[in-house]
Subunit: 418 residues, 2 copies
């Protein structure tokens, strides 16, 4: 897919685009960044599978978030333990092999990848993050990755973002990237993001890769704060299949080429944070929308007086295969939602739960209410479906975005070794 | 399906049939019980949908277990709160409507059903359990149920067990019932069970109905103890889709017609308990095998030094849609198992997890090991597949039986309002 084929980015009704934020056509990198992709023979398809992203400035600051998986992969462990997460300058990625469940040899290959990334990014190893995505449990051929990084290093260019995007994708059906321009009090900055993810997607924060670049001048502390908050409101709120990857990584690189500073606790920080939030939320919803085989995206919003229960219910509904198959079938089957609520909160019966679908109240205080079933059926056959659940009490509210569960999820996952 | 078409009951390698236990062909009721089914127009198909089961003896003792769902249905609440669970004498059931999320009117209908059951079972209401299974969120037409119970009451007979079985089934593809003869020191007794369940199946203990009858003389305390232990080892250890029904109920009725006593802490109690255990385990595995659209059953066995972690890992693997689609595809994709372990135990990386499939070690201490992939692929294409997971430490072990996830699960659940 060429850059010109990218659709308008902000498409979901669940993302509010802040004032002073404009999409930049073609989703280019901000000033001060270069990227490239190479075909190193890791993907059986022969497609691009090694990517390199470099910030030119030595003053680049950064922040990162990783999977919480107990079986986190060597690239995650190496990046987390051997890189300066507040001063990353380059990212080396491969797709087609997750370098997960690969033990000591996997750690060695991740370190070798970090070394090659440093060489081609003209920096030190501790400023290079490494990421892998693909099949679990197969040793990574480090020679191929190094060869790919050498090739990508030579091809690095401000225009290389399309190839970089291709090199990080696996089962994704469409590119998930965008660039936005943000008006701050001190001037205009750009934020760009490239992400991938379609299956093995759940929380804490998501099973995906996302790389964000900005030409704003941002301190490492501010970058960490903003990335943390925005990841919690985006990649941490989506689920395709309730699964948690061994390799999730999100990285924000702040190169500073614009000279526009984002000062802590300033109006500019608020505006920058809101823009980053909108960018990551739309990307997260895109990942749910690209959930393997998905036709529609649901949003479940839960309110109640007990925070952990509100969270449990939202996850239980979003991950219920019965709710997800109903969404796929365009079936307003709210009985399955009540079932999922009951699963999430054992030993609380009778629980006075309220359920609305697309604003139509279907269950009040645990009891079915009359409603126009045909009209509701029409509404749940659209692209985005909203479910609202009320639990007893007040004060807590959360949301989870989720994809449906259809035939293609089975096809992709029963007939494909991931 | 007529009685003679029932296949041999004990088919799983995971069920050990104790000495002195024999299957009784045709799966008849033990002496002292009568049953019937009626077509009351609740199922759109016009099939049998109201069932009645009665023990003739006024001295009948009983035990019961119910769903822990926070949205447990009125029949569960009515039975739990208004029946003498240690002295049940009759069970009134309907299928086609779960009488769940039906509020106060649903409670009234469940109570009315209990009253009709008492009248036809010639006993008091507090000795009647009521159970419903089917669609959630639709008011139950109590007139139909009462009419069905009147008809069933007139048809009650020792031979009515086949009709009774039909009347409790919904999406089940085959009958799940059996009768066994058990040699005890004091003589021979019979145990019969009829169960249903194919979807919305998970723990605590399972989304299903199961009715067990025996002609042994068993105190209510012993019945409660044995049912509790056996349910924990059977219906509590299966999952089809990780979902928890609003209506799960298991009931044991002990009529005593054989005159053979099961004394507490006797050899007879042990033998009776082992027989009940084998009966319920095979039924539980049958429910997983009949998981909506399932081709195969998996058993995941987890060992380790921390009880809750062992349980979490077993549930996470058994409920992982990635593991389940791989089982469906006959794909020995153990990387997905490692993923599920990591999901279950966040923030513990690197975790030295061991994985074997069908006795073939594929991962040791978190690292892939060489194995004969082709041979393993052949083994995981069989009917039953065994996964063994080792976590650090010793002392705890658990198992979960699970069905695969295939196209038909989507078909059944996307195109059918349950």
């Amino acid at each position: 897919m060429s850059d010109t084929e990218l659709k308008p980015f902000f498409r979901s009704r669940w993302v509010e685009v802040p004032d002073g934020v404009r999409e930049v056509p073609g989703a280019p990198l901000p000033a001060g960044f270069r990227a490239a992709g190479a075909a190193a023979g890791i993907k059986p398809s022969g497609g691009l599978d090694v990517g390199l992203l470099v910030s030119d400035s030595d003053d680049t600051t950064s922040a990162a978030r990783f999977t919480r998986s107990g079986t986190a992969a060597p690239p995650v462990l190496v990046t987390r333990e051997r890189a300066r997460l507040d001063a990353l300058k380059a990212v080396a990625v491969n797709s087609g092999n997750a370098n997960a469940a690969t033990g000591r040899p996997g750690m060695d290959e991740a370190a070798r990848m970090q070394g090659a990334g440093a060489m081609m990014g003209r920096t030190t190893e501790d400023r290079v993050a490494v990421c892998s995505t693909g099949v679990i449990g197969v040793q990574l051929d480090g020679h191929k990755v190094v060869r790919g990084l050498l090739e990508a290093g030579k091809a690095l260019s401000p225009e290389g973002v399309g190839d970089f995007q291709q090199s990080i994708m696996t089962t994704d059906l469409f590119e998930k990237r965008a660039t936005i321009e943000v008006d701050l009090p001190g001037g205009t900055v750009r934020l760009a993001a490239q992400s991938k993810g379609a299956g093995m997607i759940q929380p804490s924060f998501a099973t995906m890769l996302c790389f964000v670049e900005t030409d704003a001048v941002v301190s490492a502390e501010t970058a960490d704060l903003l990335l943390g908050v925005c990841v919690k409101r985006s990649f941490d709120r989506i689920t395709v299949d309730g699964q948690l990857s061994t390799n999730d990584t999100a990285i924000l690189l702040c190169g500073g080429a614009s000279g526009v500073e984002v000062e802590p606790e300033s109006e500019g920080e608020l505006a920058f944070g809101q823009a980053l939030d909108a960018l990551l939320r739309q990307l997260a919803i895109d990942i749910a929308r690209d959930g393997e085989g998905a036709k529609r995206v649901g949003r479940v919003s839960v309110r109640g007086g007990h925070g952990p229960n509100v969270e449990r219910v939202a996850r239980a509904v979003a991950n219920s295969p019965l709710v997800k198959t109903a969404l796929y079938g365009g079936d307003p089957n709210w009985g399955r939602i009540v079932q999922a609520v009951g699963l999430a909160l054992p030993d609380t019966a009778p629980l006075p739960v309220d359920v609305s679908i697309e604003g139509v109240q279907v269950c009040v205080a645990g009891m079915a209410v009359e409603h126009d079933v045909a009209a509701l059926a029409e509404r749940v056959a659209r692209d985005e479906v909203e479910y609202t659940i009320g639990l007893p009490g007040d004060g807590f509210e959360t949301e989870v975005f989720f994809s449906d569960l259809g035939y293609d999820y089975i096809k992709i996952n029963a007939e494909y070794t991931t």
